[in-house]
Every structure is written in structure tokens, then in C-alpha cells.
């Protein structure tokens, strides 16, 4: 059996950062096990931008952020094995994984669990009705559309206003679907304010707060959902039903930490959230097994996941070397702006904070925490603009995530998405940052690859 100082389960942002942290804190051998064929985890399907503002100070797409994290892990010399599904973990840290080359067993000095989370399903929230085709969790739909080139539907209702649901409302719209409604049980959207702004308001997608879906009907494919208003006790109010004909329902109703592996090792879980219970050093109830990111507690931003991953990795190395463990970074996720954009105010999208900036007639701004807010608000008032992110199809059938080289006028976003739809990516290898289409529409804006191929 091979021995590693630190074995990291999961190659998403948390696991890759943990590899970096472990190596930098003196672990001699670090192995990252990733079940997918490439590292990056869910970031690979998150082709939109908004990642990296905290860690890198720039606005990156998911694939770009994943590539940076991958590079950082490689630079410190961590070994990464993809196509490796961990199926066993013991309390004395023997890891078993399945690969196409055979079963792999490794003994670890310390383990970091970076197994992420899964989506809450229709079954789990027990919506009554039939079970036709056309009901997807938002993340599964994102995976299908952005990595498998499969279109999930045409007339779409989204239940829940989690960030993935909001992002998918825009994504579906840009690919020609009609998003009829986003329905949220609470009186506040649960996703970030910047996403409400950029993904719903930009496209005039109706948001129904204080409502839920009380019936789903369709014999084969989804035909209609029924939306009802909720009273203060979260019970549907009879007589408030609205029937919405649609062919697709996306669910963005919460994320659940994924901890089957932690359970095998005997690590304690929070009975309510299903997250691993850790101390302030990110160590679980099993000594030498650490946890970070969404497998511990679902966080709003990948940046926070990475920051936690670094500490978990450092502490795994410290555990092996008999050094003192470090405290985890402050949990800052609740500092992110959530809520409804306010009338008269402009919600800054330059960072996840989402300052509400008001502009006086004389051009002075209020409410912004930094100069970026002033710059953004003035620009937004004068000529609002957005970076368009989408995909181009490579000749071999692979989707290449792309973005515009700079923001384009807001009212051009849908137009460009439509114009770009039939245009293929060039043949041959593609590296991130490569110009795939040079100024295609005569506005001095290029289309850049954000992933490699």
C-alpha cells in the first residue's frame, strides 16, 4: 500500500487549495483524488464570471478559476489523480478509490475531505403531482447545457432563488429558452443580490417571492406547474393558485454537504445540515481527518472554499509533522449582499459585496464602500454594460467556455448570444485567454476562450 503524508478527497476549489496548503506547510507527498476526468469540480460547469474577486482581485469565470487552482496545486508539486472515485475511508486513514486502472489503496498521514455538496431534489422537498420528464436540479441542468451540449427545455419555471437557479435563468434565456418565473418561498431571494440584478432584472424575468409550487402535472413531459402564495406560516393560501404552462422545471432549493465518505470514517455530522462537524482547526471528530468547503458547510463563494481549503491542507500537514494547528479563516460568507436590489439604487457588481450606490444629480455617489462602486454606478447610469459568457462548439463536439474581452452594452447581451450561437470554435488545441473570434461584430470586442481544450 502506498503512503502519502496527505490524501485529499475531491479536486474542486477546496481540494486543490488544500493541496497547495499542505505542500506549503511541509507535507512531503500530497495526493488529490478527483472522480471526474478533470479537476475543478463544479467550477467547470460554471462558465459565468464572478469568481476570484476575493482571492485574486479579478473577475474570473469558473473554468478560469479552476485552472488557476489547478496550476497552484501543480506548482507546489501535489500529485493529482483524476478518474478516481473514493469508495472507502477508514478512521486510521486508509483510502480506497476506484479507477479505470484498478482499485487504489493508500495510507495517509492525514486526510482532507473536500467532497463538496449535492443539490436538494424534488423528491426531498416532496412537491405533490406527477413525475414527468423535464424536472431538473439547477446544477444538473447547468452541467447538461454547459458541458454536455444538451438543451433541457424551452419554457422554463425555476423554483428557488439560489445562485445556481438565478445563473441558470440567464443561461437559459441566452440560449433561447423563455424563463417564465422564478419562484421563491421566502420574502427574500436566497442568492446574491448581484445575481438577482444581472440574471433576472437584466432580462425582465419575473421573481415571485413568498410563493411556492404546489402541484406538478404532466403525463410524459412536464405540462403545467401550479404556483401558490404562502401565508406567514409557510402554508399555501387556497385561492391563490396560478397555473403556469411550461415544459421544464428547475429546482434551486438548497445544497446538502456530501459526506458519505466522512460517515465511513466515523466522522460526526451535523444532523440538520449534514455537514461534517469540525473544530476551529477544521479537524473532524476523527483525529487526522480534516474537512473544508461545502462538505463542511455550504459557502456562497468559491473564494471562501479555497481559503478554507488552504487552512485544512496546512493543518493536515501540521498534523503529520506534529506542529501546532492553525485557526480557520473567519466565516465571511454572510457578509455577502443578499436581498432585492432597491429602487433608485444601483447594486455594484464589481465584487460580491454588492454595495447599493445612489447617484446624485450632480454626479456624486453615496453608499459605495470603495472607488470601484463609484466607477460602476456612474457607468451603469450612463451606459450599462456586461461581460457576456457563453460557449462555442468545437468541431469535435466539445463546448468551449468563452467570454467577451470586455463588457458590452447591456442591451447587446442577448443579441450577441444569439449571433454567437451558430458560430463554431476554431479547430485544434485551445488555451485559456486565446482569442477565438477577433472582433466578430465590429465593436472592438473579441471572444476569448476561458477554458482549455
Amino acid at each position: 500500500m502506498k503512503h502519502y503524508d496527505v490524501v485529499i478527497i475531491g479536486g474542486g476549489p477546496g481540494g486543490l487549495a488544500a493541496a497547495k496548503g499542505a505542500k506549503e506547510n511541509g507535507a512531503k507527498s500530497v495526493l488529490v483524488l478527483e472522480r471526474d476526468t478533470k479537476v475543478g469540480g463544479i467550477l467547470n460547469q460554471c462558465i459565468h464570471d464572478g469568481f476570484g474577486l476575493i482571492r485574486y482581485g479579478s473577475m474570473l469565470t469558473g473554468p478560469e478559476y479552476a485552472l488557476r487552482a489547478e496550476k497552484e496545486a501543480a506548482e507546489v508539486g501535489a500529485e493529482v489523480l483524476t478518474g478516481a472515485m473514493v469508495t472507502g475511508l477508514t478512521a486510521d486513514r486508509v483510502v480506497t478509490a476506484m479507477t479505470r486502472q484498478g482499485l487504489l489503496q493508500a495510507k495517509a498521514g492525514a486526510v482532507v475531505l473536500a467532497t463538496g455538496c449535492r443539490e436538494r431534489t424534488r423528491g426531498a422537498i416532496a412537491i405533490p403531482g406527477t413525475r414527468p420528464a423535464g424536472i431538473y436540479t439547477a446544477g444538473a441542468a447547468q452541467n447538461l447545457m454547459n458541458t454536455k451540449n444538451l438543451m433541457v427545455g424551452k419554457r422554463v419555471v425555476i423554483l428557488g432563488s439560489g445562485d445556481i437557479g438565478l445563473i441558470m435563468a440567464r443561461r437559459l434565456t441566452l440560449e433561447g429558452a423563455t424563463v417564465l418565473a422564478v419562484i421563491e418561498a421566502r420574502n427574500q431571494p436566497s442568492g446574491l443580490e448581484r445575481n438577482v440584478n444581472q440574471c433576472l432584472y437584466d432580462f425582465s424575468i419575473p421573481l415571485h417571492l413568498g410563493h411556492t409550487i404546489t402541484d406538478i402535472q404532466g403525463r410524459k413531459r412536464l405540462e403545467v406547474v401550479t404556483m401558490s402564495r404562502l401565508d406567514e406560516n409557510n402554508r399555501p393560501i387556497p385561492g391563490t393558485e396560478t397555473v403556469i404552462p411550461c415544459d421544464t422545471l428547475l429546482l434551486s432549493v438548497g445544497l446538502i454537504p456530501e459526506n458519505e465518505i466522512a460517515v465511513q470514517a466515523g466522522a460526526e455530522l451535523d444532523p440538520v445540515t449534514n455537514g461534517t462537524v469540525t473544530d476551529e482547526h477544521l479537524q473532524t471528530s476523527v483525529p487526522g481527518i480534516f474537512a473544508c468547503g461545502n462538505s463542511r458547510k455550504v459557502l456562497d463563494l468559491a473564494d471562501f472554499v479555497s481559503l478554507q481549503g488552504i487552512t485544512a491542507g496546512r493543518n493536515a500537514a501540521a498534523f503529520v509533522r506534529g506542529l501546532a494547528l492553525e485557526k480557520m479563516p473567519e466565516e465571511t460568507s454572510n457578509a455577502m449582499a443578499k436581498g432585492l436590489p432597491q429602487p433608485g439604487a444601483i447594486t455594484c457588481i464589481r465584487c460580491p459585496k454588492g454595495c447599493r450606490v445612489t447617484v446624485s444629480p450632480d454626479g456624486t455617489t453615496k453608499g459605495n464602500a470603495c472607488p470601484k462602486g463609484e466607477e460602476y454606478a456612474l457607468q451603469e447610469q450612463k451606459a450599462p454594460s456586461r461581460v457576456l459568457t457563453t460557449t462555442l462548439l468545437a468541431p469535435n463536439g466539445t463546448l468551449i467556455p468563452v467570454k467577451t474581452s470586455r463588457p458590452i452594452p447591456k442591451d447587446q447581451v442577448t443579441v450577441w448570444a444569439k449571433k454567437l450561437k451558430p458560430i463554431p470554435a476554431p479547430a485544434g488545441p485551445i488555451r485559456p485567454g486565446q482569442i477565438l473570434l477577433r472582433d466578430p461584430f465590429g465593436m472592438k470586442v473579441d471572444i476569448l476562450a476561458t477554458g482549455k481544450h
Binding site: 423528491g123 426531498a124 413525475r131 462548439l393
Partner: protein, 483 residues
């Protein structure tokens, strides 16, 4: 196009497939017509997945006789057909004196029917056995078992096919005419001629009988809703309440499945539309409340899904209870064997029903046993159940065994491929689900469905629009995002 057979079976539920399998022992040509895209599409795939012992049924009835016979042969059949089966026994729990009286009566009835080992348990014995269960006494049936009804039906069909039965899926019978030699059966643009017709159409058996000119039957659809809970070892055996008079089912019960989940249900509600398998808020609330009475401390966060099945009842609303199975060749329509009202315990009784149909047919046609009948069928090897040594060997032989597609159930790509390439040619997501057991876990396919879709499009060349949940009209995708 006209196809000619000796015997046509209409309906590919467990009963139709068991009839097909039992008739395939004989030297006759047989076809089975199923309107849906796969077998087990109706009640056979929407039930409690329990092999009943037979104490619930009236002594002397076909239900009682065939159920007991089916139970006693079930384990051997599952071994022949490579179907997951576990004899768990079951407990019926009493909450008051009337319930205790009912249990005593059931014990006597069961013994009369030929059930073995029935026993009444005192409150103390119940507590000692299952401290987590509520109730003041219980009745134990050691012969009750749990199994996989999808795989059972598929296995019967595959075994029948292996022995020469031809399966026609997506083939809905639209007309039945009597001819000099037998029957002319139309299904869309296909025509079948046959000497005998066996009506195993379940919920639609009365309609099929009517197509042949017999209007005497009526089926009342009676819906049963269920919850499915995540894997748990909270119960070692099914727990039922003592049955109440007048309901059209066995009462809401808790059943550990052969796959490790827990099922709650079913309700019993007469409905108009035999295809309305919706769950309803009212019943969902009721199921949960009743389940908690049986097993206080159930955790709602464990729910991963819900489903509903429709019982083909002959007893109309108001009458309730059970009317006995009708299994007979019609005097007014010689050559037509009708199977009407095969509700619970139809799955348990399916193979004896098949043998009974063979007996009926042998009275009027030559049924010579084949010399080369093969009673065995091999299912898809479950990678996760193999020893580490065997797993290593499998991966070395086929690297697709080393690639996990469904994370919740640890289903490998090799198993998915075998499910896609199933002998019946059913190529829907449901067909793959039931054969490989992918998409059935706590993430409901969130992880594996995109992977399965990719395998179907990239490796099997399916058009995205052709990938369906359960056949025509239930397409998953409207096309490519980028063409």
C-alpha cells in the same frame, strides 16, 4: 405487416411476463405485446416490493391459493432468475384490542391457507424484537420476503425471450377480432394473428376484454401513494398496521427494500383516471402521520422521493376489500383467457398464475414441453456487491468497471452499458434505472443523469431528442444547445 403466433399475451407487467415465461416451457410460438416502452411500466413497478405469505386472503380463493404457492416457490424462482430477494419476515402491529382480535383471526386464516410459522407476539415480545416500533402486540409472518419487482419482471421477460417468446414494446392493442382460426389483433399499423389470446393487461384488462366483445368486466383504479426514504437500517423487516375493515389495501406500512431504502405507503384512494399516478399533498401528509405512529422518530430529512401505483380493483368504491382474481377461458369467447383484477398479491402469485394459464390452454391445444427449455437467466453483475479481489479482476478485464457513473449506488459504467444493451431493447432512462439501479439514490440522478445522457449520445449515437424518461413524449432534451 402481419405476425402469426400460437399465443398472444397482452400486457408486459409481472403477470404477463410470468405467463410468457411459463408458456415458454412448451413448444408453442408466443408473442407478448406491451403498450409502454418497457416491461413493468404499470403496477408491477409501483408497489411495496413485498412477497406476501398469503394470510390476508380468503381461504379457498384463488388469491389465497396462488399467493401461498407463489410464496413457497419465490426464493427458488429468484435464484433461477438472478433476482435480489431476502426473506425478512414481517410484523403486523396492533394498537388496540380490536387490532389484536384481527391479528388472531388473520393467524387462523393464514394457517388455513397453508402459511407456515405464524405467531402472535405479546407487547413485551414486540418490544424485545423491535424496541423502535409502537403498538401493543403483533403478529409475525416469517415467510414474507422483500425483492426487486422491476428486476423480477425484467428477468421473467428476458428468460421468456431466451426461450423463444417475442416481445413487442410500444405496441398498444387497438382492436381484437375473432376469426375462424382464432384472433386477429391490431396494434397501430401492426397486425397479429393468433390461436389464443391471454389478457394480462392489468388496469386495462377490462378494456382489452371489451375489445374482444366482452363487456362484463369493470376495473376500478385505486391509487396508492408512497414515500421513499434514504438508505437506513432502522427496520429489519416490513411493519404493517393490523388491517382495518373496508379499506381497499393493506394499510400504510413501512417496508425496508432489498436495496436498503425504506418505503412508506400505500394509501388507498379510488380515482377516475387509471393513468393518474400523481402524489397529493393530502395523502402525503397522511402517510407521514401514519408512518410515525408505527415508527416514532422517523426523520423527514430522510425522504428522497415519492411515487404512486394504481391497483386494478374489481371491488367498486363502497364495497372495498378484495374480490378474487378472475383467471379463465371465456365460454362466450373460446381461446381468450382473461386475467382480471390481478391486484395484490398478484406479484407473489405471478408464476402460479402463469402455470394456471398453461393448464387452461393445455385443455384445448397441444402443449408439449420443450426439451431445451432453460429456466435460468443471468442479471447484470452488481460491482458493488463483489469482493475486493473480484472487483480488481473485473476492472482488469473491463476498465468500464473502474468508472463509477452513479455515485449514490456505486453503479459502474460497465453496468450502465449492460443496462443500455438489455436484451428486450428497451432504451429509456427508466429502463436503465431499473436494470442498473442508477439514478435511484439520494441525488435522484443529479450526478449520473448527465453522464448517462452523454454515454447514450456519444457512445450509442442517440439523438438528444430521442432520449426519453419512459418512451414517446417523455423526452428529456429539446435538442443541442449548440448545433
Amino acid at each position: 405487416m402481419t405476425h402469426t403466433f400460437d399465443i398472444l399475451i397482452i400486457g408486459g407487467g409481472a403477470v404477463g411476463c410470468a405467463v410468457a415465461r411459463e408458456l415458454s416451457r412448451y413448444d408453442v410460438s408466443i408473442a407478448l405485446l406491451e403498450k409502454e416502452a418497457d416491461v413493468a411500466a404499470g403496477a408491477s413497478g409501483r408497489n411495496s416490493a413485498v412477497v406476501h405469505a398469503g394470510f390476508n386472503n380468503k381461504p379457498g380463493s384463488l388469491m389465497a391459493k396462488l399467493c401461498v404457492e407463489g410464496n413457497h416457490g419465490f426464493e427458488a424462482a429468484c435464484r433461477e432468475l438472478d433476482v435480489p430477494y431476502r426473506k425478512t419476515g414481517k410484523l403486523l402491529v396492533a394498537f388496540d384490542q380490536a387490532d389484536l382480535d384481527t391479528l388472531a383471526r388473520l393467524k387462523a386464516q393464514g394457517e388455513e391457507n397453508g402459511c407456515q410459522g405464524l405467531r402472535l407476539l405479546s407487547r413485551e415480545e414486540l418490544r424485545a424484537r423491535l424496541p423502535q416500533v409502537g403498538g401493543i402486540g403483533a403478529f409475525e409472518s416469517p415467510e414474507t420476503a422483500v425483492f426487486d419487482p422491476f428486476q423480477y419482471t425484467v428477468a421473467l421477460a428476458e428468460n421468456a425471450q431466451k426461450n423463444g417468446v417475442q416481445f413487442f414494446l410500444n405496441t398498444k392493442v387497438t382492436a381484437i377480432e375473432r376469426t375462424a382460426k382464432g384472433f386477429r389483433v391490431t396494434a397501430g399499423d401492426q397486425v397479429f394473428t393468433a390461436r389464443r389470446v391471454v389478457n394480462c393487461a392489468g388496469l386495462h384488462s377490462a378494456e382489452v376484454a371489451a375489445l374482444a366483445g366482452l363487456n362484463r368486466y369493470h376495473i376500478y383504479p385505486c391509487r396508492g401513494e408512497y414515500f421513499i426514504l434514504d438508505k437506513t437500517d432502522v427496520l429489519p423487516m416490513p411493519i404493517y398496521p393490523a388491517p382495518k375493515a373496508g379499506i381497499g389495501g393493506l394499510g400504510v406500512h413501512l417496508t425496508p427494500t432489498i436495496h436498503g431504502n425504506l418505503i412508506i405507503g400505500p394509501s388507498a384512494e379510488y380515482i377516475e383516471d387509471p393513468a393518474d399516478t400523481a402524489s397529493t399533498q393530502v395523502v402525503m401528509d397522511k402517510l407521514w402521520a401514519e408512518a410515525q405512529q408505527l415508527l416514532p422518530g422517523l426523520n423527514g430529512r430522510q425522504i428522497i422521493g415519492s411515487y404512486a401505483g394504481i391497483r386494478p380493483k374489481q371491488a367498486p368504491p363502497g364495497e372495498g376489500g378484495f374480490r378474487d382474481f378472475v383467471i379463465r377461458e371465456e365460454v362466450s369467447c373460446p381461446g381468450l383467457v382473461n386475467l382480471i383484477g390481478i391486484e395484490s398479491p398478484g406479484l407473489t402469485a405471478s408464476l402460479p398464475i402463469g402455470r394456471m394459464v398453461a393448464g387452461i390452454l393445455s385443455l384445448s391445444m397441444d402443449m408439449t414441453e420443450k426439451k431445451d427449455f432453460d429456466p435460468t437467466r443471468k442479471g447484470i453483475l452488481r460491482f458493488r456487491d463483489q469482493s475486493p479481489e473480484e472487483q480488481a479482476r473485473l476492472i482488469a478485464e473491463d476498465p468500464d468497471y473502474g468508472e463509477v457513473v452513479c455515485r449514490c449506488q456505486t453503479v459502474t459504467k460497465a453496468e450502465i452499458r449492460q443496462a443500455i444493451e438489455n436484451p428486450l431493447g428497451a432504451r429509456t432512462i427508466s429502463a436503465i434505472k431499473y436494470r442498473a439501479w442508477a439514478t435511484t439514490g439520494r441525488c435522484s440522478g443529479g450526478y449520473c443523469l448527465p453522464k448517462i445522457a452523454e454515454i447514450l449520445t456519444e457512445e450509442y449515437g442517440m439523438a438528444p431528442e430521442a432520449i426519453s424518461h419512459r418512451g414517446d413524449g417523455s423526452h428529456l432534451f429539446t435538442g443541442r444547445v449548440k448545433a
